[in-house]
Structures are given as C-alpha cells and as structure tokens.
Amino acid sequence: MLVAWEVGVRISGVSALLLPPPTAIVSTLVGSRALFLRHAMVTLVEILIGFALGAAVGLVLGVLFSYSRLLERAIYPWLVASQMVPVVAVAPILVLWFGFTLTPKVLVVALICFFPVAVNTIDGLRSVDREMVDLMRTLGAARPRIIRSVRIPSALPAVFSGLKVAMALAVVGAVFGEWVGSSEGLGYLMLAFNNQLATADLFAAIFVLSVMGIALFFLVGIVQRSVIPWYREDRGHHEPSKEG
C-alpha cells in the first residue's frame, strides 16, 4: 500500500502540498526526530495524567452509583448531560480559566475519559451472577467477603472495556485540548505545520500520534491480561441457567 501511495503520488503529479509521498514523510520524521519526540512527550504526559484522573473519577463514581440508587438518580443525569455538551464548547472556557498550561488539556482528557469508565463500572458491578452470590451465602460468607470475592472480580472485564474506550478517546482529547490553546504538543505541531502548508511534517505528526495511541491502547490490553488472565474476550464465561 505504501508503495502504491508513493508511486501514485509521483505518477499523478498531485502536489506534495496536498498529499506528500511516504518517503518525504519518513525523511522529515528522521530529520526532525528531536522535535517530534519533545512534543510527543508533552502530549503523552497530558494523556497519561488526564487518563489517570478520568479513570479514577469514573471508577469512584461507578462504585458509588452501584451501591446507592439514590445517588445514581441524583447525579447520573448530570453526568450524561456533561457528555452532551460538546468538549469543543468547554475546552476554550478551560483555557480561559487556566491559560496555556497543562491543566486545561488534562481536564479535557479527564472529562472525556471518566464517562466510559463510570458506565462500564456500573454495568460490571450490576452484572454480578445472583446465583454465585447465593452460593457464597450458603457457604456462610458475609457481605464484605462477597463484594471482594464475587462482585469486584466479575466487574473487572467490563471495567477494562471502559478503560480501553477511555484510552482511545484520551488521545483525541489531548490533541483537541492543544488545538484550543497551547504552545507545545503534537496537536500544537499539527496546527503549526498546517498553517505553514508543511504537509509532510503534518503527516509525520499524525503518524507519531497514531503510533502513540495504538501503543497506549495495547498497553491497557497488556495490563488487562496481567490483572485478569482468566478472562478471554472470545469466550463468555456465563452459561445460561436452566430451569429446574
């Protein structure tokens, strides 16, 4: 595909300003690697802090809601509403409040991340197998033990699904936060290159961002496999119950 791209661009005579050939992208990547690395680190830090914050808030909310219907009824609608307000509208306000600092980007990322984590945590904690809880009771288990041994582990696969979605969104969130107002980061680089019509550099920045996003996403997968090695996405672990 890369070859077809290279050959296609050269033969058709499309301007390198519109679609640069891969070789041009690679050469700028290599030539300005220090620049890309520096800005990539900025974006990475934004993503990681924002993701950690969002995931933590999402987890806490998910746990609180699954234990208190009242709390859920009071706050859940507001959380859903928070997702209806476009980040596009919120981000400039955050920049207005916090300036060209790390804070607005972290907040944008966290704002996007907490929601899928919260929703999946609630679903995970609710999806607990009633019969397994009953079995624990017949074995004489008290409530804290049931929470620790049944509810939490059975919620973990859903929690990880939420974390994966959150991580994918976090990358977008960080770049968006930078677009609204920043002087560094991959998002800032993209805007700058775009204005300079430095298309090859723009593509290089997009490439770096993609690689980083993919790596982060798989990292969540690796953590998942070490935390819940028993869980396989390709095979469900709940067989249907039978009427007796």
């Binding site: 009953d134 017949t138 004489g140 288990a141 582990p153 028993w230 672990h237």
Partner: protein, 260 residues
C-alpha cells in the same frame, strides 16, 4: 435418634392476593444421618424452591425445617447446609484448586492450609493435574466434580445436590453416578439429591420422594432396598424395574393432584 434433616409442612407462596403463585403446597420429608435420599418430580414442580428454603436462601411461608431435631430459621441454615446448585458456578477468576477451597477460606482457614487439604482429595475427585487450570479450560464433568469437591470441603454434614448431572450426556452421567456413590460411601455424608431422572434416583438412593406437579407436594417415599455397593447393571434388574413402574405411576399427574 433425630433425623438429620426434617421438613414439616413447608409451603411457599410467592406474591399475595390474586397474583400469588403457590410453589410448594405442603412438603414433608426426612433424611436420616448418612442417608442418600432423592426427590424426583417434573420440571417446575418447585424442587428448586424447596432447595433454596433448605439452604437458607429463602424462608418457607408456613412449616418448619429442622436440623438435628432443632427448628431452624433461614438465617440459621445459611452456612450449615452444603448446597451444590445445578450450575457448577465455578468462579472464572479462580483456578480449579482455588475454587475448591472457597468454603474453607470463608471459614477462616488460611489459603495455604486450605490448598493442602484440597490437594489431598484431588486424585479421588479425578482432578489431579488440573489444579492450576481455569474453569473455562476443563470439561463439564470435571467442572461438576470440582463443584462437588468445593461442597465437600466446606465441611457440612448435609449436602443438597440439585440435578448435578443434568447437563451431562448419558454416558458421562452414568460414570459420574457410580463415582458419586463411591465418594458417598467413603465420606458418609447425608445427601438430599434432586433429579427428574427416575433411573438416576433409584440407582443412587436409599429412598425416593416423589413430588407432584406445581404446586409441589411430596406424594410418597419409595424405599429402594437394593443392597449396596451397587453396580450400574442393577438398573436393568427386576427389582429396579418394579420400583420404576411404581414411581412412574406416582408421577402421573392425577386429577386430584392437579386440583390441589
């Protein structure tokens, strides 16, 4: 001597008023210490409701459950009766070994000691070599044996088994039945077994109670005085077939039962 487990006039009605459903309409039964007793009945006759009451998960609407001669409320029964539900309910996040020690752990035995105790029984339960596997990696029959070991290790004298072999094919089923008898003969637990398979009930039990169609009521115990140890060939013997006919007769829903 008291029966180990006794059920006196237990009824269970769900809901109230016009929409109420009577699941159990007067169940009386008793199980002597070390006895193997089965309850058979058609699907939906309330067997599972009865077991939930015996395990302490639910309270009867009227009537009593007595353990060692003492009446017990649901909360007293919880944790005192070993209960193996139809589904094996092995926890997918625990290895086979750690699933079997669940009851010991809840009783406060350290994980290390519990594992040692469980490992001693692994060969007898046909689970040797599968200690570190995830439940999703072993066969249905093995999962049932692991679930049974978990129930045994919980250390209760009375064990309720709710159609434990219902999901197995008939060949593995026959094997599992013979194996269960061996285990029972070595450990001498008091077992109450639910099934809708007449052959299975007759082969395994000292006595068989028949439960009528919904609302469930115990019709009659049939004693199975076929000497032990039994071999599977016994299921084709004349004595077996005679008793089977009697049970079939009892299971036929009569007008009277349907109106009860």
């Amino acid at each position: 001597m008291h029966p180990k487990l006794e059920v006196r006039g237990v009824t269970k009605t769900f809901g109230s008023g016009a929409g109420s459903v009577t699941a159990l309409a007067g169940v009386d039964l008793e199980v002597a210490p070390g006895e193997f007793v089965s309850v058979i009945g058609p699907s939906g006759c309330g067997k599972s409701t009865l077991f939930n009451i015996l395990a302490g998960l639910d309270s009867p609407s009227t009537g009593q459950v007595l353990l060692d001669g003492a009446p017990c409320a649901a909360d007293d029964l919880l944790g005192r009766i070993g209960y193996m539900p139809q589904r094996d309910l092995l926890m997918p996040w625990r290895t086979v070994l750690d699933n079997t020690i669940l009851g010991l752990e809840i009783r406060g035995v350290s994980r290390r000691e519990a594992r040692l105790e469980a490992l001693r029984l692994f060969p007898e339960f046909g689970l040797e070599g599968f200690e570190r596997r995830w439940p999703s990696e072993i066969s249905g029959g093995m999962r049932q044996r692991a679930a049974l070991l978990r129930t045994f290790l919980a250390g209760r004298d009375v064990i309720l088994l709710d159609e434990p072999f219902g999901a197995l094919d008939s060949l593995s089923r026959a094997g599992m039945q013979q194996w269960l008898l061996q285990i029972w003969e070595t450990h001498r637990k008091t077992i109450l077994f639910v099934t809708h398979d007449i052959d299975e009930a007759l082969f395994l039990s000292d006595r068989v109670y028949v439960m009528s169609h919904r609302p469930g009521a115990i019709v009659d115990p049939v004693s199975v005085d076929i000497p032990r140890p039994r071999d599977y060939e016994v299921t084709t013997s004349v004595e077996h077939v005679e008793r089977k006919e009697r049970l079939l007769e009892l299971l036929r829903p009569t007008r009277e039962v349907l109106e009860a």
